[in-house]
């Protein structure tokens, strides 16, 4: 240990101690710094339009790309679809994740808990693209779902390449994230609190509504934020389950960068997405207060 201490004295002398915190912060600052740098570059390229004759960005600065995003009905539609998709995904994911994690946390049978955990995590290990393919197989016209419907005499219906399919895929994809964020929040609620609610006259539903949900609020908001931002910026589910007809913003950005090579428009869309995501987070935090997320401070 002495040798270690002596080496430490040479590498990081005692007088440097006050700066230890900053030194440890460096990697984070570096990472965020690079991201900000990239963001500035994006902002710069979003201010140049693409010259269709030379396929080079224009020399002069212009807001033309933003005008296109705002005025072109296609982009309006895409943005609206992304926002609606994200909101619906948050709603349905939390609706399913809350009872799921509640049962997982409260069950007295460790076998049930294990089954719930494994069921949750098995799809988690499989990549998003593979899962989307899986859903294609299940939901296809001759897929498992339609075969099952056929058994009860229902004609095959188109379950794929529409908006509900994308939301379904997103909910299925987000569920593990939400459950993982909710479970600790529910674990933190003492069982005794629910027992108390029962002794005070609350039935199961009232206890859930007046005690469990308010006390799980930090977890619900945290899970909602994560699910919402991930869904808003998702690429694979709209691309694969939407079949090109249900593009989200990320798909539009991809098209601009890699199909039409219009970097400027792509960058403008990307920045729009950053703004949308930030506004979403800002709204949630201003409504519920940072305090509920355990970030200190009061509402």
């Amino acid at each position: 240990m002495d040798a270690l201490n002596r080496t430490l004295d040479i590498v990081w002398p005692a007088r440097m101690m006050p700066y230890t915190g900053w030194a440890l912060l460096m990697p984070a600052l570096l990472l965020v710094g690079l991201l900000v740098l990239g963001l500035f570059q994006m902002a710069d390229s979003s201010l140049h339009t693409l010259d269709r004759s030379t396929f080079l960005p224009s020399e002069n600065y212009t807001l033309e790309n933003y005008r296109t995003v705002v005025e072109n009905a296609t982009y309006g539609k895409i943005i609206w679809r992304s926002v609606l998709g994200a909101v619906l995904t948050v709603f349905f994911t939390l609706l399913l994740a809350l009872p799921y994690s509640y049962i997982m946390v409260r069950t007295s049978s460790s076998a049930v808990r294990k089954v719930l955990l494994v069921t949750l995590f098995l799809p988690f290990f499989i990549g998003q693209v593979v899962r989307a393919y899986g859903l294609l197989i299940i939901l296809g016209t001759t897929g498992v779902a339609n075969n099952a419907l056929g058994l009860v005499g229902v004609e095959p219906i188109r379950l794929l390449f529409n908006f509900p399919a994308v939301v379904f895929g997103l909910v299925q994809y987000m569920l593990p994230f939400a459950v993982l964020m909710l479970a600790p929040a529910l674990t933190a609620i003492p069982r005794e609190t629910e027992t108390a609610a029962a002794s005070l006259g609350a039935n199961w539903l009232q206890s859930f509504r007046h005690v469990v949900i308010p006390m799980a609020k930090p977890g619900l908001i945290g899970a909602g934020l994560v699910v919402g931002t991930l869904a808003l910026t998702d690429f694979a589910m709209p691309a694969m389950l939407g079949g090109g007809s249900q593009d989200f913003i990320a798909n539009a950005i991809y098209d601009q960068f890699f199909r039409t090579a219009d970097q400027g428009l792509g960058a403008a869309l990307a920045l729009m997405l950053v703004v949308l995501g930030s506004v979403f987070v800002a709204i949630v935090i201003s409504i519920f207060g940072a305090g509920t997320l355990g970030m200190g401070g009061k509402k």
Binding site: P190, E192, T193, A198, S199, L200, A202, N203
Partner: protein
């Protein structure tokens, strides 16, 4: 608080009404040991009963069965003549103060107290007045808008009491709510529980492992050990006349002597006849164990200084412990090798009269040494 005086809980004709009756109640969690083993007792309306016992004695299980959180595996519990077990907890009229209080942290003190009223569909117009009345009862008038985490430990206790009582339950259950408090606050809250219970006259069952608390607050005490009720008596009776060695050892500080019963009800240990009175079923020759409380043994420099003591022994001080208001000596009697006596000594002249190794004399009156049949090993 005039409208909520003791009168409403008291039986109209002064007759003794039974509020809670448990008959042959057992709880089997499996594993061969009964958590509660054939417990039977009755509790009169308006009285304060404490179930006292060490951890694992089954006292909390018994309370949870009365509350309806657990269903007994045998026997029957009735509250006000009605068998419980059929109705879920939220359909019963039982107020409970929990070990960790279980207040709702997302609500203010007043909202916590109003919660049972809302759940039990009291007239919304009467709720604020009622909440304020009960907050005043627990001396928290003006604290209604505080959030739970803005209240001190003692204030949180008071909110929990108000919340459990505000809907005027038939029965108040206290599940060791004072266990986590520091001594000063605990003693203050014990007196508060007593005051509030007297004011409202609500039938109360308290569970604790704190013998002092049990003696201070209760009208009746049930001592439990190993799932069985050991003794059910009033505090004074329980302390003065324990019916078995467990109760004698659990309340107060006792020293024990083992031996065999003599024909005239004393204890024979070797050549020495130890004078005492037998409690319960003791016949000549059976193995017995005798208990005597530390404050009932007299201690002096020599036998003549003991005064009138029916039993006198020579002993040696083997340890001396200063306890503040008194000195405790551990002494070993010469004629009872291996048996130590713990003696409280109040010395008006000053502490520290005897040192380790000093020869002393100890003595007691016959009636103070209780002789019990030795439980089969």
């Amino acid at each position: 608080m005039t409208d909520r005086s003791a009168a409403q809980y008291a039986p109209a004709d002064g007759a003794r009404e039974i509020a809670v009756r448990a008959s042959h109640v057992s709880m089997d969690f499996g594993g061969g040991v009964l958590a509660v083993d054939d417990a039977s007792f009755e509790l009169e309306k308006g009285r304060f009963l404490t179930i006292l016992g060490p951890s694992g004695s089954g006292k909390t299980t018994l309370l949870r069965m009365i509350a309806g959180f657990q269903k007994q595996t045998a026997g029957e519990i009735t509250i006000n003549g009605k068998a419980v077990g059929a109705a879920p907890p939220h359909r019963r009229s039982i107020g409970m103060v929990f070990q960790r209080l279980a207040l709702f942290p997302h609500m203010t003190a007043a909202e916590n107290v109003a919660f049972p009223l809302k759940m039990r569909r009291f007239d919304p117009r009467t709720i604020p007045d009622r909440v304020n009345g009960f907050l005043e009862l627990v001396k928290l008038g003006g604290y209604g808008n505080r959030r739970i985490n803005e209240l001190s430990g003692g204030q949180q206790q008071r909110v929990a009491i108000a919340r459990a009582l505000v809907f005027e339950p038939d029965l108040l259950l206290l599940d060791e709510p004072l266990a986590a408090l520091d001594v000063k606050l605990r003693e203050e809250m014990q007196l508060e529980f007593r005051r509030i219970q007297h004011e409202l006259g609500v039938t109360t069952i308290n569970v604790t492992h704190d013998q002092r608390e049990a003696l201070v607050v209760s009208d009746d005490i049930i001592v439990m050990d190993g799932g069985r009720i050991q003794q059910h008596a009033k505090p004074v009776e329980l302390y003065r006349a324990p019916t078995n060695p467990f109760v004698a050892g659990f309340l107060g500080l006792s020293s024990f002597v083992e031996g065999k019963a003599t024909a005239d009800g004393d204890l024979q240990s070797g050549d020495l006849k130890v004078l005492g009175v037998s409690a319960g079923d003791v016949t000549e020759g059976v193995p017995v164990i005798a208990a005597i409380r530390a404050e009932q043994i007299r201690l002096a420099r020599s036998a003549p200084a003991l005064g009138a003591c029916e039993m006198q022994l020579d002993a040696t001080v083997i340890d001396t412990i200063f306890e503040g208001e008194r000195q405790m000596y551990i002494v070993e009697a010469a004629s009872l090798p291996g048996t130590t006596f713990r003696v409280y000594h109040h010395d008006p002249e000053g502490f520290g009269l005897f040192d380790i190794g000093d020869p002393v004399a100890i003595g007691w009156n016959r009636r103070d040494l209780k002789i019990f049949r030795h439980a089969a090993e």
